[in-house]
């Protein structure tokens, strides 16, 4: 007998998606992570535009990770045009990126994921019984947004980061205000760890998982670096950023309409858990201790651990953000202008770690600095095959095939990936099953 389990509209995620599973006598016949976003075709529409316009247009791929798109775009453009930014610009971009990660992880953990664990339909329903937890989450989110506003000029779609540097550098006063907020954030991290450690275990899907992330051996950052590490059962392989296509060799898979990213024929997971699994050094001391308090053991075979990994990164980002602001205040901000740009023909690739994982922008420019080709590969596009893989394991490992219970587990797996569906549409779109 064949049955279908369907989540028509996946709630509490960014964008429009769903889940379809077909069972044949209890065995999984097909799994699909459905995507219903309209195609915006931005990579094609930007052709002919000046290098100055690209990061502003392509940041609009996604709001929650608009800093990631903006900075990855700048990295690709600067690589293509041979622009080398100053160490101060690198540091400010690194800090801006941490602001986005704090905002995004806090939004995901407190507003989208925690309600799952405590069985509430929304953060507002959660607020009725757990007001302090919701207020804590909103404070964390606001902290991330304050960093984005101070350095990026706006919380959503930053405007201040431009090719070669920044429009306006942050004032000492604004950094002092950020420092105050980060000190409150350090205290809030303690409550956050306690809250996350008290959540019931989500233990229903175990499978060997391949992870991929940008190598960041020094400080577990999101922005700097040009080497991607793929790790599987303790084996590590390095892929240079410019060879990113070897990770996105899309294949059609039976039972799915998607083209799947794989490495050596295996789907892989990107995001917080992948970053912690591949970059074992570089975490702040407090974040390292938080791993133990949250019971996160690596390598993990449970995709739900991505939520714990986000908690660990939240702690790391607040602590390392404070250290960066202290350094900026100690060394002082140098009033340096942007690095001058001479348009020339060239190709460049930028790879960074968006809150949800590996993000690639790769561009080609003509000799007048007009873009002739743009390729964007987003974390959720990389993750699509792995999400479906974990859907399959979840069903296979569930003793009961009761539809409502399975639906909830599948939704929790999807949400643990923190999917960003506006983003993912750039590689794949699947039709609503007729």
């Amino acid at each position: 007998m064949s049955t279908r389990i369907q989540v028509e509209h996946l709630a509490r995620v960014e964008g429009h998606g769903g889940i379809t599973v077909e069972l044949d006598d209890g065995a999984v016949a097909a799994v699909r992570f459905d995507i219903f976003e309209g195609a915006r075709l931005l990579e094609g529409l930007v052709r002919g535009r000046s290098y100055e316009d690209i990061s502003q247009i392509l940041s609009r791929i996604c709001s929650i990770c608009s800093v990631a798109h903006s900075l990855t775009s700048l990295k690709a453009t600067e690589n293509a045009l041979g622009v080398k930014v100053t160490p101060q610009t690198e540091l400010l971009r690194d800090l801006l990126y941490r602001g986005e990660s704090i905002q995004s992880h806090a939004l995901h953990l407190f507003c989208l994921a925690v309600p799952d664990y405590l069985d509430y339909p929304s953060v507002t329903a959660l607020a009725a019984d757990h007001l302090d937890a919701v207020k804590l989450g909103l404070r964390m989110k606001k902290l991330g947004n304050s960093i984005q506003e101070t350095l990026g000029g706006r919380a959503v779609h930053p405007v201040n980061a431009i090719v070669g540097g920044f429009g306006k550098l942050p004032s000492v006063d604004s950094l002092v205000a950020l420092r105050e907020a980060l000190i409150q954030g350090v205290a809030d991290c303690e409550t956050t760890i306690k809250l996350l450690a008290s959540l019931p275990a989500a233990d229903f899907c175990h499978t060997d998982t391949v992870f991929a992330a940008l190598s960041s051996p020094q400080n577990h950052g999101y922005y700097a670096g040009d080497e991607i590490i793929v790790s599987s059962n303790g084996q590590r392989q390095s892929v240079p950023a410019a060879a990113y296509r070897s990770l996105s060799n899309e294949k059609a898979v039976p039972g799915s309409h998607a083209k799947h990213s794989s490495f050596n024929g295996k789907p892989f997971m990107v995001g917080s858990l992948a970053r912690l699994s591949t970059n074992t050094q570089g975490l702040t001391e407090r974040a390292r201790a938080a791993m133990g308090e949250l019971g996160l053991r690596l390598p993990s075979d449970n995709p739900m651990d991505n939520n714990k990994a986000q908690g660990v990164e939240l702690v790391h980002d607040v602590h390392s953000g404070l250290a960066m602001v202290d350094r900026l205040l100690r060394d002082g901000i140098k009033e340096e202008g942007c690095v001058a740009v001479c348009p020339k023909a060239g190709t460049g690739t930028g790879v960074t770690e968006a809150p949800r994982g590996l993000l690639v922008h790769s561009y080609t420019y003509d000799d007048e600095g007009r873009i002739t080709a743009a390729d964007v590969i987003t974390p959720t596009a990389f993750n699509a095959a792995s999400i479906e893989n974990h859907f399959r394991s979840t069903i296979e490992q569930s003793a009961s095939k009761d539809a409502p219970a399975l639906r909830k587990k599948l939704e929790m797996v999807a949400r643990a990936y923190d999917p960003c569906i506006s983003c993912s549409v750039h590689l794949l779109q699947r039709h609503h099953a007729a």
Binding site: H9, A11, R12, V13, E14, G15, H16, F36, E37, G38, A39, R40, L41, L42, E43, G44, L45, R49, D53, Q56, I57, R60, I61, C62, S63, I64, S66, L107, C111, L112, P115, P121, S122, T124, A125, V134, L138, R139, K141, K142, N145, G153, R154, A155, V156, H157, V159, N160, I162, G167, K168, H257, K259, E411, S422, H426, L428, Q429, H431, H432
Partner: protein
């Protein structure tokens, strides 16, 4: 008095306007207690998808049949509909090159499957249904959103600025990037409401809020000409977020 029933919806876009609403951290708990939010898929999994709504807030542009049908269903159940964000009000970045051959681009980006995709040329909401209020911005400004909601709760029509970004820029006493630095700044033709954020950072306005009604387009274009800025460069920049921007010249 009973609280107004409200729905928040996204069509195709980046979800940035819904995110700005979730970013009202200091007001969010008051906001959800003043409104009866019945349908908000991005934030809740317990939604009433058919009840009548006093107000629907809709972001994103119409880019597919699915979007079009969804928007018509929202309109049919809502007393008032407010478009939020530049995509909903003007079409936004997905409409940045209306002449582009979309069928060809679909095939180039998505391969041979592209032809099967549910894809329509981009349209703003008012090109598809009746829209009662337009709150523009890419994304919308938090303060304008909150003030619009509080006006509506008091039974007053919200007031949005009808002047150009230039006016706000002068109030901030910024140096003019167009006149003094010959930069391609869309401030004279773009509707205010952002407090001239970008020129305030020394960065030319990209026109992300869409056109201002009362602009003297031909004299502004002449000024760009005097600065030696090619007309096609200005036209392309102006039309990044609103395909009809600068059409009144």
């Amino acid at each position: 008095m009973s609280k107004p029933t409200v729905g928040l919806f996204g069509l195709t876009g980046c979800a940035g306007d819904q995110l700005v609403i979730l970013n009202c951290e200091d007001q969010l708990l008051d906001l959800v207690s003043a409104l009866d939010i019945r349908d908000f898929l991005m934030a809740s999994s317990a939604n009433d998808v058919s009840c009548e709504l006093d107000l629907a807030l809709v972001e994103g542009a119409v880019l597919s049949k699915r979007d079009e049908e969804k928007l018509k269903r929202i309109r049919a159940r809502s007393k008032a509909l407010m478009a939020i964000g530049t995509c909903a009000v003007w079409g936004g970045v997905a409409a940045l090159n209306p002449e582009a051959d979309r069928a060809k681009l679909l095939e180039e980006i998505y391969g041979h499957q592209g032809a099967q995709y549910d894809s329509l040329p981009p349209r703003s909401l008012r090109e598809v249904v009746k829209v009662d209020l337009n709150l523009t911005g890419c994304p919308i400004e938090k303060e304008q959103f909150l003030s619009a909601v509080s006006s509506l709760l008091n039974g007053d029509p919200p007031i949005f600025p009808e002047y150009a970004v230039c006016a706000e820029c002068r109030m901030r006493e910024n140096n003019c990037l167009l006149i003094e630095k010959s930069q391609v700044c869309c401030g004279p033709l773009t509707v205010a409401g952002c407090d001239a954020r970008c020129p305030g950072l020394g960065i030319p306005c990209v026109g992300c809020r869409g056109p201002v009604d009362e602009a003297n387009v031909s004299s502004v274009l002449a000024m760009f000409g005097e600065k030696g800025i090619p007309r096609e460069r200005i036209a392309a920049k102006l039309r990044t977020f609103a395909p009809t921007s600068g059409d009144h010249s």
